[in-house]
Symmetry: C2
Subunit: 304 residues, 2 copies
């Protein structure tokens, strides 16, 4: 199944011409999940390859404006475009109140259903084919990191072995691949006889806004992609500490300790025009570090 | 004094790639007034020649999201950029409640002062050198048109006449131009002896969202610029009626009846890519009709 990350807003604090505020879309098959929704996200979506009508679930990390002020316009626009499907909104405690407030602004009432669910540190939300885990991170207000973990996939199918056991090529192969026991010449053959061990699905971790947070090392452990707060460069680490953010180098240290495949740097301060400085800063610690830019798309492939 | 209109968002209903939602800035001298503030207006301001720190007063026409959802992000960003000057927000009844709601979202409290004032149909707000008048127009929710009218300027100074009265060129000319009586060789000379009649200042009318509204004919009378709702073209007038909007042709009819100098068409539906159709539609009735586009700047000159 195709799995792509669309970086819609890679800037922090306030929108700049070159970067909009926080929003990341993950497209998995035909479903699109949105992580944070800063002001202007609906317009970023229009500029992307995605349709805002595809979005089924929104996960809000915390209640600073640059992470949620795009919600009310998004709610209204999908209504004007005749949304019928329900929309699910998840966030830290307080998200129910916040969405209630946003739906009470001016003249607007949705005619589609908006389900809002409060998420706590340690929660695991289970969906079809994947789960979303939440971790409380270290910002100056309550903030959640989210991790998308796919269910494990069946192991590899050993065709030679199957043939050697007398199983004819065809529908029985398919049954075994689906995990069903088959019968050949009066003999029962379990899938384990011809299948390798289940292979892990893909894993993407998005930190939200955070200082370097020890809990992330395990939480993001072995992620295919870690998307980490990288508001500043190391030369102004004091500023990062003060505002509850990380430097690019600190993000890279977490990536290295967590043993991830790739690190994407986001929430870039408007002071940086291209972010090269941040990428260099991170690469000193962790080679597979990349600064993101708006509308960048990263495909996440199966490792095996 | 320089007077420019900056069209920041010329689209209606929801943002499109080619047009953002409603916002118009008027720069008069060093002051910037903002009329409506749809989502993403702060970023449009960044792309314009204006600074959002220059904005002193915001006038909201009505409480549909495409006209006000840019306010909370704007409030927050000017704070992050260390705004000290107070900000004035005007709007129809309910604006105090609305701004209160917007300031209660997430973790935010402004450290600069936000003054909010409710405006009624017929109100005249007097400022230094100009006033803002309000008119209730014909939308499907309460909506105000605003008109900026400059104070009249002194009449022309007739130099020849002054010299013939024995007034020496120099400081006395200046006094007369300022409206003061002077004494020359024991004779009192009033400004009216050497000055023409006061000349009217400039006038800009912004309709907000409205069906063709008779009240606008007098209210916008003799405006230098009329900025009128022009959501649809004449072929779908029924849609315009239904949603409380005007067609380009209807806007032109109001412009003609009001005897304005120029008509600018705004609140263009996202269905139109360039708006040429609307301009043609309006020009059939009123030649000085122009469709606007985001970041267009129109200078308003004195007529005499």
């Amino acid at each position: 199944m195709q799995l792509d990350i669309h970086f819609l807003g890679t800037g922090g604090s306030w929108p700049a011409v070159h970067r909009n505020v926080s929003s990341i879309a993950i497209k998995r098959g035909s479903e699109v999940l949105l992580f944070d929704c800063g002001e202007g996200t609906q317009r970023q979506l229009q500029r992307s390859a995605l349709s805002y009508m595809q979005i089924s679930k929104i996960f809000i990390s915390h209640f600073h404006g640059d992470h949620f002020l795009g919600l009310p316009g998004f709610f209204q626009t999908i209504q004007l475009n005749e949304r019928k499907d329900p929309l699910y909104v998840f966030g830290p405690r307080g998200i129910k109140k916040l969405v209630g407030q946003l739906l009470d602004l001016g003249y607007f009432a949705p005619s589609y259903k908006i389900h809002v669910e409060e998420v706590d540190d340690g929660d695991v939300l289970t969906f079809d084919g994947y789960c979303i885990k939440a971790l409380a991170v270290c910002h100056n207000v309550p903030c959640l990191a989210y991790c998308l973990e796919e269910d494990s996939r069946p192991g590899k199918f050993h065709k030679k072995k199957a043939l050697s056991l007398g199983i004819p090529e065809g529908p029985l192969f398919n049954k075994l691949q689906k995990g069903l026991t088959v019968e050949v010449q009066g003999k029962k053959i379990a899938p384990s006889a011809v299948m390798g061990k289940p292979r892990p699905g893909r894993k993407i971790t998005i930190t939200g806004d955070t200082r370097p947070c020890d809990g992330l090392i395990e939480f993001a452990g072995k992620s295919d992609v870690l998307i980490h707060d990288s508001t500043f460069d190391s030369s102004i680490q004091q500023k990062a500490n003060e505002y509850g953010h990380s430097t690019a180098r600190q993000a890279a240290e977490i990536a290295q300790k967590a043993g991830v495949e790739k690190l994407f740097l986001v929430h870039i301060s408007p002071r940086y025009k291209d972010g090269k400085l941040l990428e260099e800063d991170a690469k000193k610690v962790f080679e597979e570090s990349y600064v993101t830019h708006d509308f960048m798309v990263a495909e996440v492939r199966y490792r095996n």
